[in-house]
């Protein structure tokens, strides 16, 4: 897409799209970036409203309590310091060796001033690398060189972001490296208008920013589905045999090794891997078990499907096992025919158009940045294990004639707790990512959750873990109760992971909050269902738990409540 097309989007109809408010604080001219963000958002069916601070007036804007910034109440606040202004400042102030620290300190002050007026997520641009023609290659040995300070500043920014949940970084440095600084900059635009990117790169930056924003709104990709022949290895296992497929360090095999390393690294990060291949299962699994150069092993694959059915049907099957949305799946296949079938029948699945030459696969996939995220928790690292245990449970369930016997056999234990500093990141992640078993779909950041959790007069929070004889599910449920003025407890948030459906977990959770309400002499618990495209499965949640409808809400009577039967033990 070029800038003209993106700009033409501005005149189109954004109604019906989700609205997200973004403020830009910058010390360079950002009018084009503003247009690009809104225009690009149209492509992703988002209505991003952008408010731009006056040119080069960051400090004045944030320190003015009456600033439009604060009445605009942006969901996201971009702080973008021009690398050229930074450089100018660096040389004007006599090349100081604490430049990086001071610059990040300044950014921290800006963010804390803003935070004292409103809650917002900060998106802070890091600083692009620049070849230092002052000291040349020697600059690494000189702490007072700009090159050294710029790199140090990026480190300091990362340290800041790691310790402040409200701050996310936008990796401008990485993005510019990917596209090449020479292709992203137009010195005349900069000199004449203080615009520091050319039009093509402005679009790239806008696209990248929206990816970061999307990751906050439950759009994250969770699963990578891989074809095998000519995608994970060169050649056709059924025809060529295990000795002749191409993988390893030689020739084109290297390209496939790299793809596997990529998939493995994603798996370690928490992306679920699945295989979907037209093959006999035994043939398909053989390289995973026996080929010495395979990076991926059967343990890495949560769902392995190799048969001769249509790929769209097989992906539907994978979806049903994992219980995640089609729009959180990415499907990689070298065959254009298979890609198109999946696109046609499952339009929500992301199907990248792979280049023809396998040696270009990875460069292409890297450029797409398919797996943007806004969190990384301990749970993520264990995810494949969790889904594999789930597959074991599923096969065990078939051997029991009654569901009750099966549930009893699982020996389930739940730990219920208020949120704490360990669980808050996971809890916030659940609010951002859960789409199906989510009654009101309120998205909260770490900061939001922390604030609610600290407000004991108004909120009471519950997190639930579940473990059974096959392993731990981790933290799979959460409830936030809000005390209303009329004395009722309102269920602000009720989320459960779809991994633990049909375990009696809902009943257990209800028992817990009813018990809490009884202890605190509360008569009613009020719940609300807010319909979205994805949470149809909980439409009758309160009804089936015995609540009665009144004025758009559902009421559960605490005093007459009889605890529901379930086969989950409380660990407390």
């Amino acid at each position: 897409m070029d800038f003209k097309q993106i700009k033409a989007n501005l005149k189109k109809d954004f109604s019906g799209f989700k609205t997200i408010k973004v403020a830009i604080l910058a010390d360079s001219a950002t009018q084009y970036l503003t247009q690009a963000i809104r225009g690009m958002a149209y492509e992703k069916k988002l209505n991003i409203e952008v408010w731009e601070a006056e040119y080069d007036a960051i400090d004045i804007t944030v320190s003015d309590a009456d600033s439009e910034l604060y009445s605009f109440k942006p969901d996201f606040t971009i702080i973008f310091l021009s690398p050229y202004k930074l450089k100018k400042k660096f040389y004007k102030n006599g090349s100081s060796s604490d430049f990086a620290e001071n610059s990040v300190e300044h950014l921290k002050q800006i963010s804390s001033t803003v935070s004292s007026h409103m809650n917002t997520n900060f998106l802070v641009f890091n600083v692009p690398d620049a070849f230092d023609a002052i000291f040349g290659n020697f600059s690494g040995k000189v702490t007072s060189s700009f090159s050294y300070q710029q790199k140090k500043m990026n480190m300091e920014l990362m340290n800041w972001a790691q310790n402040d949940a409200a701050v996310s970084l936008v990796d401008l440095c990485g993005l510019q490296a990917l596209h090449g600084a020479m292709n992203t900059f137009d010195s005349r635009l900069y000199i004449n208008s203080d615009v520091i990117f050319n039009f093509d790169f402005i679009i790239t930056v806008a696209d990248n920013l929206i990816q970061v924003i999307e990751a906050f709104s439950g759009f994250a990709k969770k699963c990578l589905i891989l074809d095998l022949d000519n995608t994970l290895w060169g050649g056709i296992i059924g025809d060529d045999g295990i000795d002749n497929i191409q993988i390893g360090d030689l020739g084109i095999g290297k390209a496939f090794t790299e793809i596997q390393l990529w998939a493995k690294a994603l798996k370690e990060r928490g992306i679920i891997l699945a295989v979907c291949s037209k093959n006999d299962e035994a043939n398909a699994k053989e390289p995973f078990e026996k080929h010495p150069d395979m990076v991926l092993h059967t343990d890495d694959i949560a769902v392995f499907v190799a048969n001769w059915s249509n790929k769209n049907d097989n992906i539907k099957y994978i979806q049903s096992v994992l219980n995640i949305g089609f729009d959180s799946m990415v499907f990689i296949d070298d065959n254009p025919f298979e890609r198109n079938i999946v696109r046609t029948y499952l339009p929500d699945v992301c199907v990248p158009e792979l280049p023809e030459d396998p040696s270009e696969y990875l460069t292409y996939l890297n450029k797409l940045n398919l797996f943007e995220t806004n969190a990384y928790t301990d749970e993520d690292k264990e995810r494949t294990l969790l889904y594999k245990a789930e597959a074991l449970r599923n096969s065990a369930s078939l051997s029991y004639t009654s569901e009750v016997d099966f549930l009893k056999s699982l020996d389930m234990v739940c730990e219920t707790k208020s949120f704490n500093s360990f669980t808050i990141p996971r809890v916030a992640q659940l609010t951002q990512r859960s789409n199906q078993f989510n009654l009101r779909t309120k998205r909260y950041t770490d900061e939001d959750v922390k604030r609610m959790n600290g407000d004991h007069d108004k909120y009471h929070t519950f997190s639930f873990t579940l473990a059974d004889k096959y392993g731990s599910h981790g933290l799979i449920g959460m409830i936030i109760l809000e005390k209303k003025d009329d004395g009722d407890l309102f269920v602000d948030t009720w989320i459960m992971s779809c991994r633990v459906l049909k375990r009696g977990m809902e009943q257990f959770m209800l028992n817990e909050i009813m018990e809490y309400a009884r202890k605190h002499k509360i008569d009613n618990i009020a719940g609300e269902y807010i319909e979205t495209k994805k949470n149809g499965m909980v439409r009758n949640h309160y009804k089936s738990l015995g609540f009665t409808a009144k004025g758009g809400l559902w009421y559960g009577d605490v005093n007459s409540y009889q605890p529901k039967t379930c086969y989950i033990r409380n660990s407390n």
Partner: protein, 82 residues
């Protein structure tokens, strides 16, 4: 390419970039005559013209354009010296 042809090509670029069919450039046309032609879209137009003719203006040239005719003359000069 003669001056009229260049003027024609430029009109096409303006129509395309500014998304407005009613634009017809004359040599005397200035930014004041075209509604969408503001300082923002100006740079967009310059970049598009450079791409189309595979030329590159200097900052001094861009700042020296008094009207479309000036710009076309500069384009012509650059094309001839290629």
């Amino acid at each position: 390419m003669n001056t009229d042809e260049i003027l024609n090509e430029c009109t096409k670029i303006f129509v395309d970039q500014l998304d407005n069919d009613s634009i017809t450039l004359k040599r005397e046309t200035t930014a004041a005559d075209v509604e969408e032609w503001d300082s923002l879209s100006h740079i967009q137009l310059i970049v598009a013209i450079e791409k189309h003719f595979k030329i590159r203006f200097t900052t001094a040239e861009i700042q020296g354009f008094k009207n479309v005719g000036d710009m076309c003359d500069t384009i012509e000069k650059k094309l001839n010296s290629k």
